[in-house]
């Protein structure tokens, strides 16, 4: 654009083509607006507007199908979502002051449900978890314990999947960055899970993870001569989330691999040769040339992978439906379950708003962290 205008203005100066040079600027502004209008419109209609609607709805009691009129309820949805409390219970003792015990020798505490029902302060609260401490029992309460569980599950997923996925992507990128015959084939193969529908991938991996028929258990038992397994990958609360992590990392690493590959190809070959003359081995070159050269790429990959990981939904929906015992329910899954399956769209909106703010905060924090390291 700039080059154009300068050429035009020099035309009018030297050749005096008679073209008026005045009305150069206003049309340009108009064009800028006109050209970006479709994108802006789409952004507004499908991103800004829904978010504003969700924000508005989260302060109401709107349901998907309901005969009752919608009413403002203020912060009730957020209260339900985020309100956490706890109570400390003394063990029950008999008249003589001795602590009551069960047949197993465990201490007996007052029945939690009756305590919560009788105390207006604990109205609507349910137990999230409890632990014993010096003969006392501490009970953590939440109005929506499965949301708390979902947050913890989501964080666990992110913490596990980001390093695994980024590490895999970097490793693959290093492998396919070599000048070998047929390397294009490997690039295609490594990238192919990305272009496969996540639903299909999830179904296929469900078979692979199957307790009795799955390939993984067959391999494990064959390689360990029957010592290991069979593991109920998706049915065991301890294994379900790691299983989904592994599959997700495998499926999505191809995108980050391509980004890392582009980053790798941007590093000057001279630097590797200089490092070679300086006596750096393969590891030395990796640490002193490759990693520093990939710094900006890594920042981008980590932030985008983190954001993507927070949105975990499809795999859970297809493979485990949030189970077993809520061990794979995620924030997104919880929002969809509440908002659509249970038709409480206002509450689902509140979850989305909180989720959006959380991701925004994390992305900003990550960026600040990386920026600071750059200054240092």
């Amino acid at each position: 654009m700039n080059a154009n205008t300068s050429v035009n203005s020099s035309d009018t100066l030297t050749v005096s083509s008679g073209r008026p040079s005045e009305p150069q600027r206003p049309p340009r502004k108009r064009y800028v607006f006109l050209m970006s209008a479709p994108a802006l419109l789409g952004l507004f209609m499908f991103l800004v507007l829904p978010f504003l609607m969700a924000l508005g709805m989260s302060f109401t009691d709107q349901r998907l199908l309901s005969p009752n009129a919608t009413e403002w309820v203020g912060l009730r949805n957020y209260d339900r979502l985020l309100n956490i409390s706890w109570l400390v219970q003394e063990p029950v003792s008999d008249a003589a002051g001795n602590l009551k015990q069960t047949a197993d020798g465990e201490l007996v505490y007052p029945r939690l449900r009756s305590v919560l029902r009788n105390d207006p302060e604990y109205k609507d609260f349910k137990e999230y978890t409890h632990w014993s401490f010096d003969n006392k029992r501490v009970v953590l309460l939440a109005k929506d314990p499965s949301f708390i569980q979902s947050i913890i599950n989501t964080l666990l997923f992110v913490i596990l999947v980001v390093p695994i996925q980024c590490g895999t992507a970097l490793g693959l990128a290093l492998l396919i960055n070599q000048k070998l015959r047929g390397i294009f084939l490997f690039r295609t193969v490594f990238f192919s899970p990305v272009v496969t529908s996540i639903v299909v991938v999830s179904i296929v991996w469900s078979f692979l993870y199957h307790k009795d028929l799955g390939l993984f258990n067959h391999y494990l038992s064959a390689m360990s001569f029957g010592l290991i397994g069979p593991v109920d990958w998706l049915g065991d609360p301890d294994w379900a989330m790691p299983s989904i992590v592994l599959m997700s990392a495998w499926q999505a690493a191809g995108v980050q691999m391509l980004i890392f590959l582009a980053g790798l190809q941007g590093i000057s070959g001279d630097l590797y040769e200089a490092a070679e003359l300086d006596g750096a081995g393969p590891w030395g070159k990796f640490v002193n040339v490759t990693l520093p050269g990939l710094k900006n790429t890594t920042i981008f990959v980590v932030i985008s992978t983190t954001i993507q990981a927070f949105g975990l939904f499809t795999q859970v929906d297809v493979m485990t439906r949030g189970g077993p015992q809520g061990s794979t329910s995620t924030v997104m899954y919880h929002a969809v379950t509440k908002g659509f399956r249970e038709q409480d769209i206002a509450y689902g909106s509140a979850i989305s708003v909180i989720f959006f703010l959380a991701i925004l905060a994390i992305a900003l924090l990550q960026k600040r962290f990386f920026d600071k390291r750059e200054d240092a």
């Binding site: 630097l271 200089a274 003359l277 300086d278 750096a280 030395g284 002193n288 520093p292 050269g293």
Partner: protein, 379 residues
Amino acid sequence: MADVKLTKVVKRYGDVETIHGIDLDIKDGEFVVFVGPSGCGKSTLLRMVAGLEEITEGELHIDNECVTSVAASRRGVAMVFQSYALYPHMTVRENMGFGLKMAKTDKDEIKRRVDESAKILQLEPLLDRKPKALSGGQRQRVAIGRTIVRNPKVFLFDEPLSNLDAELRVKMRVEIAKLHSQLKNTMIYVTHDQVEAMTMADKIVVLRGGNIEQVGSPIELYLNPVNEFVAGFIGSPRMNFFECDVISQTSSSLRLRLPCSTEVELDADVSASPGMSKVKLGIRPEHLQEDHQGKVKIGVDVDVVEHLGGATYIYARYAGDNELIVQAGGLSPVRRGHHCDISFDLDQCHLFDCNGLSLRAAQPIPLQTEVSVQELVLG
């Protein structure tokens, strides 16, 4: 003591041979320049000495030790790259000390040696900066400093000045020449710029198409090029060539007809090539005079005149379409479109047979030039 000796060195990429068996002796402390047009294999040859390219055949000795298949880092060489190749995330100090750090040298020793070479190159105020905060010339100095720190047996330079502007290039040229006289290490320098080669080298190696055309001191190459290629490559502006008919020949002289039909007789060593019909006459622009003092006169039509102040380049046509460049001293009164007479002496002519080989006996090299051109440059 770090002689470099290449014996029948060949480089092949698959079936394509790019270096065709090079033999070369470089003496300890010599400043050798590899020069040639692009694609002549000069950089490949340097990289083979560095250990960055494998030597397909032949042997390389550095300091009387065969290093043909020794890793680059253990050959005792250090290299300055055209792109400088400084590690962008490290400070100047870290860049310079990196090689020693990799060699697990003691920290105090690294600091001492970095400080020492920073002093040589006046890099002290820049030691804590990162490469992106440096100018092109400063980066170049850091790249050189990095090689000095490692105290190598042989310094290698791969077109180090081609990313600098003209003024800085001249300045760095002098600095590198000074550095050589200070450090007295063996240095191998690759360039496509024959002016750099002429001004810096103790010994120039002219390469073409993976072969050595000629090895010699700058003055030797200037006075006695062994063939038409070297004659045309060394010297600026380049030598003028005309095709001449041979009228008659004896074993030690030739009678020629110049394109303008003038007949001349020259001494030439033609005993080995009887019965030639055509030869090429070469004459350098600075040996053509516009003041009629030379023995042979020719008439030319002037196309373009470039006034450089101290000299004037006259681009002219001679006897039809033979293009010709004349370097006249001072401000020449000749103008575009003029017809004028140019003269030259036959002693200063070069003569090449149809294969481009020189037919004239070597001229004696004046004594003072054996002192090396560097000292002339540095005054």
